[in-house]
């Protein structure tokens, strides 16, 4: 409702009064994919501390800074020192960048991914979601997409910086882009492999408990104890196949094989990756498939 006060007949309104009291809303709702997209955006913002206190931003942005630093540094060298005729990708390759960021990735995943689920149960907001907003499938889909997007920022982002930097610092950028454009799909696929593995593992840990500390502890136990056991087994057997079960470096080895076109850990590595991703999704479906807030 609104009323207009005019200076005279035919004159433009000088002031408009709006009744801002609550009234029924009868607009058209958007398609469900829009709601899920909003949920995904919110799921990415909160672990990064966006729209929250300054303190909530410190840790995630510290880790992001650490992840982007190597790529930015090697890009900055030829940009700031033109006398140095070196390409950023000669200073650090994509597989090397992945390996360098492996520890940062584990820390980032541990502090952000499991809590995407534990936080909703701690706040007891699931009753609102499932009763009036989202189906369980929309919720799980949204959480998985948010986790993938979040991990893409720390896995794919630095590699894209390196790629763009190598183009920008090339003597003939367009020609360089034409020559290396074929690497882009492999970069995205490699990042997707790593992100999907850790998202599945982190979300599965987060779905099994409502306590954040247990979820983070569970994820860290898998990615820290797993490598020790895999390496011990490899040392005892003298074979390399146990390394396919290493949850910390296994996905990075697979990603390296995609980037280099090498065999990597072979079929066993792919099988372990697929088993973890499928098991993670199955745990989520079992936990939330009833649509209950318990």
């Amino acid at each position: 409702m609104s009323a207009e006060t005019t200076a005279g007949e035919g004159a433009a309104p000088r002031a408009v009064l709006h009744d801002i009291r609550y009234s029924r809303w009868s607009g058209t709702l958007r398609p469900r994919r829009s709601a899920v997209a909003a949920f995904v955006a919110s799921g990415v913002r909160r672990p990064l501390g966006l729209r929250r206190s300054a303190g909530a931003k410190v840790w995630p942005f510290l880790l992001l800074g650490a992840a982007y630093l190597p790529a930015l540094a090697v890009v900055a060298v030829p940009l700031l020192v033109p006398a140095v005729p070196v390409q950023p990708t000669e200073l650090i390759s994509y597989p090397q960048l992945l390996a360098t960021n492996a520890v940062v990735l584990l820390a980032f995943t541990a502090t952000s991914v499991p809590s995407m689920l534990t936080r909703d149960r701690r706040d007891r907001v699931l009753s609102l979601y499932f009763a009036t907003a989202l189906s369980w499938l929309e919720y799980v889909t949204g959480v998985v997409l948010a986790a993938l997007a979040l991990l893409a920022i720390i896995v794919l982002g630095p590699m894209l910086v390196l790629f763009v930097g190598s183009v920008a610092t090339a003597d003939e950028p367009l020609r360089w882009l034409g020559d290396t454009a074929g690497e882009l799909p492999r970069i995205v696929a490699a990042a997707a492999l790593v992100a999907a593995f850790h998202a599945a593992l982190g979300l599965a840990a987060g779905s099994l408990t409502s306590r954040r500390v247990f979820a983070v502890g569970g994820y860290l136990a898998v990615v820290l104890v797993g490598p020790a056991l895999a390496n011990l087994l490899a040392a005892v057997t003298g074979e390399e196949w146990p390394l396919a079960f290493d949850p910390a470096t296994g996905p990075v080895r697979l990603a390296t094989s995609v980037l280099d076109g090498t065999a990597g850990t072979g079929a066993l590595g792919w099988a372990v990756w697929a088993a973890v991703v499928v098991a993670g999704c199955a745990v989520l479906a079992l936990k939330y498939g009833r649509g209950s807030d318990a």
Binding site: R24, S26, L29, D123, S127, A131
Partner: protein, 334 residues
């Protein structure tokens, strides 16, 4: 997308049953809530929360059918979600987000675009009195402000029905008054169906048109809050002073108005009609005779008596008596 009929009942339960282990939370419940605002009353464990959770799809019934606004609560979940708002009793708000962010977030997940969500959030937060405080984290709010935020999020997407679980729980007197005023306005001015669960009869009387009493998962009573003609029913008058003289004078005054006077065993006077004219006559006569009016109250059984009886099982006992009597008659006729 199927649209429910506009006159569909807010909730319609047919043989609804739900058991949790050894506890039968809902026991073949049959009830239809058609009033604009209905209050659910019952002791702890009576089945109120289970009924609300089943209507919201958070619990699956073991047997029977539950329709929400004419939509099947199980088969048509997506459409029910779109049309319903819910205010839980328990804390359900992220403590680190502001009321504004909570409402915008939930509005967007219910399908509103960003601009609509922000505008609607401002409207509902203004309506519940949180306009000034909307940017503070919810964790820093008082209990009353958190309750208002919960109500705001339930309204932000313009639902046809809101389910309120103990909306005045934990509120101070001023906050309770404000909450009751807002809840009453939902059904009377905004045309939103309301189903409120509460332990407090006074809250239900002030916000609802109908009261439904549950006991052990079954319907114990269903009554309108305002009984037609209740205002003209019998009244009990208690006076101090010369009661016999006042009674004699009152009998003479009341007779021309069509009311008869009868003394009660406890010394009170009972008039069989309590019209405005009769009550005015009582007041004027008390002034004229110099007696004190200690109490003037309806003499019939009020809503409170009905609800208390239903919660304690008296009504159920009476129904069983009637059922037994009916069986005896039927047996005799055979």
């Amino acid at each position: 997308m199927s649209s429910p009929p506009p006159d569909a009942a807010a909730l319609e339960c047919r043989g609804l049953s739900k058991r949790f282990g050894q506890v039968q939370a809902l026991d073949a419940l049959d009830v239809v809530l058609t009033a604009p605002a209905t209050g659910l009353l019952g002791a702890n464990g009576a089945g109120k929360s289970t009924l609300l959770r089943t209507a919201l799809g958070l619990t699956r019934p073991d047997a029977g059918r539950l329709a929400v606004l004419g939509l099947d609560a199980v088969a048509q979940r997506a459409e029910v979600r779109r049309r319903v708002g819910f205010m839980p009793e328990h804390p359900c708000l992220p403590a680190d987000l502001s009321a504004q962010d909570v409402c915008v977030h939930l509005a967007r997940m219910r399908g509103l675009g960003r601009r609509d969500a922000v505008r609607r959030t401002s409207e509902v937060l203004f309506a519940v009195g949180l306009e000034e405080e909307r940017r503070r984290p919810v964790g820093s709010y008082s209990l009353g402000m958190q309750q208002r935020t919960k109500l705001a999020q339930a309204l932000v997407h313009g639902p046809d029905l809101v389910l309120l679980d103990e909306p005045t729980s934990g509120l101070d007197p001023a906050g309770r008054e404000e909450m009751l005023r807002i809840v009453r306005r939902l059904s009377t001015e905004l045309g939103i169906r309301v189903v409120t669960s509460s332990h407090v009869l006074d809250d239900i009387e002030r916000t609802c048109d109908e009261v439904v009493v549950l006991r052990s998962g079954r319907l114990a009573a269903q009554r309108p809050v305002q009984v037609a003609g209740a205002g003209a029913g019998p009244v009990r008058v208690q006076v101090t002073g010369d009661v016999p003289a006042f009674a004699a004078a009152l009998e003479a005054v009341a007779a021309p108005l069509g009311a008869r006077l009868a003394p009660a065993p406890d010394g009170a006077l009972v008039l069989d009609r309590g019209t405005d004219e009769v009550l005015d006559a009582v007041r004027d006569l008390a002034v004229e005779r110099g007696v004190g009016l200690a109490r003037v109250a309806p003499a019939g059984r009020g809503l409170e008596d009905v609800v208390l009886d239903a919660m304690q099982g008296a009504e159920q006992g009476a129904e069983q008596e009637a059922e037994r009597a009916g069986q005896e008659v039927a047996t005799g006729e055979r």
